[in-house]
């Protein structure tokens, strides 16, 4: 390997790995179980898992049909729509949170009707956390699954139709199984992104312990009051990330995965 490539590559590796090593070295290993059994910590952990899972479920229900439409519908402006839909990927999350407040807040564009017609208030509730996480994480699912829909073998769908399958049956019995690996990968990416969501959540849903205080929020706050707890919580999130990565690698990201 020529050194003009080797040196930056090495620095890059160190840059990415040293912080993680720091986390592991400074972790309060002996007090770990005490910290993690703290009521505030377990409730934040539970809230995080519940909200991320709910956000992923909503993303699947809404995102899969949307991804299909983006991949298959031939209309003018569909590529502009694709760009808009995936905007949250690059949008600063805190901006997303502000936008959600303006749209779904009690006096927001849609929120005022949710409030006056249905009595539904989203900001500063657990549902609000789910909304914020879905907003930020769903595009991850959409782009992953859309690519799969786009490259899925249309010939198999034609074959299914000649065998008498309606378009919906073709989708359910042929298209969806074909994109299943990408669907899994997209769902995991989406879940991981939702789990780590900070900016949009704190802006839209606030930081109420037990109601909207998820793990990342708890980590950030603990850093001032109880650094050891912050490190322990970070360790948990790191562990989850490693698990997600391992899962993706073994089950979905390996080339030519047999179905």
């Amino acid at each position: 390997m020529p050194w003009p490539l080797a040196v930056p590559a090495l620095i890059g590796v160190l840059f990415l790995l040293v912080p993680l090593v720091g986390l592991l070295v400074r972790a309060p290993w002996s007090g770990l179980s005490r910290i993690l059994s703290d009521a505030g910590v377990t409730s934040a952990l539970r809230l995080s898992l519940v909200c991320a899972t709910a956000a992923t479920a909503i993303s699947l229900v809404l995102g899969v049909p949307l991804a299909w439409a983006l991949a298959r519908v031939r209309l003018r402006g569909i590529s502009a729509l694709r760009a808009l839909v995936t905007l949250p990927l690059v949008l600063p999350p805190v901006v997303g949170g502000v936008a959600l407040l303006l749209a779904l807040g009690r006096h927001g564009l849609v929120g005022q009707y949710l409030d006056s017609w249905f009595g539904i208030t989203l900001p500063f509730t657990t549902a609000g956390v789910v909304v914020a996480e879905t907003f930020v994480a769903m595009p991850f699912l959409i782009i992953t699954v859309e690519g799969a829909f786009r490259s899925a073998d249309r010939g198999l769908e034609e074959a299914a139709r000649t065998l008498g399958a309606s378009r919906m049956t073709v989708f359910r019995r042929v298209t969806l199984p074909m994109v299943a690996p990408s669907l899994g990968a997209g769902a995991v990416l989406c879940w991981a992104r939702a789990l780590g969501e900070f900016g949009a959540t704190i802006t839209f849903a606030g930081n109420l312990p037990g109601v909207t205080q998820t793990m990342p929020l708890k980590v950030y706050l603990a850093l001032e009051s109880d650094p050891e707890a912050a490190i322990a919580l970070s360790l948990v999130l790191l562990g989850v990330s490693v698990l997600v990565l391992a899962g993706l690698r073994d089950r979905w990201l390996r080339p030519s995965t047999p179905l």
Binding site: G155, L163, G164
Partner: protein, 362 residues
Amino acid sequence: MTTSPALHVHAEAQRDEFALRVALDVEPGRVLGVVGPNGAGKSTLLRTVAGLTPVTSGSLRLGGTVLDDAAAGVFVPVEKRPVGLVFQDYRLFPHLSVLDNVAFAPRSRGAHRTASREDARRRLERLGVEGLADRRPSQLSGGQAQRVALARALAAEPDVLLLDEPLAALDAQTRADVRGELRRHLAEFPGVCLLVTHDPLEALILADELLVLEAGVVTQRGAPADVARRPATAYVASLVGLNLYAGTVVSDNTVTLPGGASISAATRGLTDVVLAAFRPSAVSVYLDPPGHGSPRNTWAGVVDSVELLTDRVRLHVTGAIAAYVDVTPAAVAELGITPGARVWLTVKSTEIDVYPAPASAA
């Protein structure tokens, strides 16, 4: 069993830049072999009948039912047509077992899972591949996949069966086996069958009738033996291995070719534009101008290619009348025939078949 309806295609269809224009009627129980060069519209014809490519004008009917009529605004969608299509690449569903692939059609029509699987198992038995029921398509050989694809299409109980190059993906030995079986299954099939192929042998063995498509139009249609004996176009002639010339009858028993050369053969009262055909093996080759003899046709030429077929050598000779000539390997060795050799060719008049040129063939 009620009789299956006849298929009537009188339509034009457009696929990409390509236009197909056909008028054809096929009776139930008949196998129509569709042959033609690449890009002639064979697959487009199948796709049009299946409903994957709509007609742009004209109509497509099955018995009294209109399946597609651009002017009348009728279009029966693919899944509602009683048309089965066996794709060249089979297109078996990779995520389903062989059994569930075959059970797919009855399931799609709302049959219960158990009933569909029983039906599928019976069909696999009929094709002699019931042992493959639990396999995935990726675990099948080409011949097995072909049988499963046929079973899957038949499970929809179609009135029209479309086969797109059904044996093209198989190796030579498997092809011979599957061809024999396919012939049996097609004989049992009560409906209309369209079989696209580019293999003349396949067409001759499997089809009751041949349809030749070239550049989107039908150039010849007839019994396989007639098509093989009297090709209407250069393409068909090359397919069945005949020398074919279009010419004009100028006087009794003389056909003049556009280049000026003439062929002596019995014209049996034909006039105007005719076709003249003879077998490559009907031609004799001489290194020197032959003396007086009975063959009425003698001309000079230059060998421009020499190709060894299984048991004989095929020469292509250019000259006043360019022709394929079959000789024995021994003759080639003895005469020292190589590309560039100057030769004389003779053909007896009785070896030349002269017949009217079909109106559509130029």
